[in-house]
Amino acid sequence: MSTGIFDSVQHAFHFDSLVWHGPIALYLFLLGLSAGAAMLAVVLKRWILPRNNETLNNRASENGLIRATAIIAPASILLSLVILIQHLTMPLTFWRLIIYYNFTSVMSIGVMLLQLYSVVLALWMALLFRHELDQLIDRWMPGRIKNIYPRVMQSVAKFENTLEWLLLGIAISLGAYTGFLLAELKTYPLLNNPILPLLFFFSGLSSGVAGVMLLGVTVFKARLDAASTHWLHKLERPVILCEALALAALFSLLFYIGGRSEVAALAAIGGGFWSGVFWLGIVGLGLLTPLMLQTFTPAEARQRVSFVVLLTSCSLSGVLMLRYFILYAGQMTVY
């Protein structure tokens, strides 16, 4: 019996039609997390914080949630790129992606987006933490840089509005990008469909909400009774519902198409290791548990940090499992 289970797990991670392995699932997760956090960063700073007069001394960088986005967005994109490059068969040749382009390739468009994202995110963060940056430059940098620095910052500041809209646009595109990346693969019917980008967008946003919430209230001490925290808290349910809807749409579509698509859907959720991950991990832990906790927990209990940690951990692990599930179960069935 135990060897049976061992075999089925072995088989779930090693099969002939598998090309992209586990690290790619992690890359997809981190990229979605970064894009989700960046979207929230812009929305929080532009609309939520000013509306509730939460910006101390007119500095959004003091807010715990904004600080969480400012850690999550750049850190997870950096980590995801390291993982991606590590996974190339020739990691040291990655620079070729920046030199050669192919406009029919989703991945090539993604490389362009990622470069633009890195620059815009860095500039936007420099403006956000301008006060802190001023002090750092003043303390550590040589005179020449000190002289140029204010002029550079002034010219960047002129484009703050444009940068914010640009960051929002790129983050939304990147959120859907990983879905398009897999949807382009004609080989695998479970992946080769238009719902996947939508699913990845919503689950990426869901992980962003959870990640920002978790880091914001634990490390950066964002107040649970603050209006911005309330807003983020309220966002969780509709985003999780959208994610569930996209997941339902994906499998309905596969069953409607029939043929190999139906075979792929059945192989994924109709039994075996990955169907266990789907029903218990993604649907049970990732979607239903947060929804139930949100709906049935008494109001006073919801104001505890431990509640937030529990809720966001469920969503985050659900999204992580979703990425592994889509990647592996998606590659199991070939046209």
Binding site: L88, M90, R96, N102, V106, M107, T187
Partner: protein, 223 residues
């Protein structure tokens, strides 16, 4: 009304005649600079000896453990001593609309304009394996020594470059493989495709594969 019934019927007939006279060939192949290499595997002649596989490995220095060309044998059909097998060639289809070329982020996977052959330029490749995943025929693999994707290229850099036929074609003892220019109506492959009932694999995906097959006469039912 200026469009009388007579005029309508006349122009309708002209339209039908016009398209009929355009003589659309059965095999749509992209017109490239001259050649459009294609292959035909006559499964009714194939005896499954796998001499083609060995010749390919030897000519293109394909290491053990991976292969550019496989002959897949079916389950036995019928009872001994009347058992039969069907053979299926698994190798690059040199699609006119190749998904591997479409997805390649750096243009390392390409389709040679002069011959229609789909090939890999290792100097542009980063090894992302997007092409390996994108090929619906699953014929690409990572070459264990070169670390880049590899697959059949009709011996483009070996036999073909020396003016010889691809290794698998010349090794076949039953002449089950025909290779040639599908754009040349006089070539053997064009003649075969024009006169024999051929099929191609996974046509609904829109890849327009250029590996043609003639089905053998064994039934489809497993014994």
């Amino acid at each position: 009304m200026s469009c009388s019934r007579r005029k309508f019927i006349a122009s309708g007939c002209a339209l039908v005649l016009g398209t009929g006279l355009a003589n659309i060939p059965l095999v749509q192949s992209m017109t490239i600079n001259g050649k459009r290499y294609a292959m035909l595997h006559d499964e009714s002649k194939c005896i499954g000896c796998t001499a083609c596989m060995d010749a390919c490995r030897e000519t293109n220095l394909v290491p053990e453990g991976v292969s550019r060309l496989e002959i897949i044998r079916s389950e036995p059909q019928g009872e001994y001593p009347d058992a039969n097998y069907s053979f299926f060639r698994k190798s690059c289809q040199h699609c006119d609309n190749p998904p591997c070329v479409e997805v390649c982020p750096s243009g390392a996977s390409f389709r040679d304009e002069e011959t229609g052959i789909v090939d890999v330029n290792p100097d542009k490749c980063v090894g992302c394996q997007y092409c390996v995943a994108a090929c619906p025929y699953q014929v690409r693999f990572i070459h264990p020594e070169k670390n880049t994707p590899d697959k059949c290229n009709f011996c483009r850099d070996t036999n073909l470059a020396q003016g010889k036929l691809p290794a698998c074609v010349s090794a076949c003892p039953t002449q089950a493989l025909i290779f040639g220019d599908a754009n040349d109506p006089a070539s053997a492959i064009s003649q075969q495709i024009a006169t024999k009932p051929t099929y191609r694999n996974k046509v609904p995906l829109g890849t327009d594969p250029q590996l043609f097959r003639i089905a053998d006469r064994n039934g489809d039912l497993p014994s």
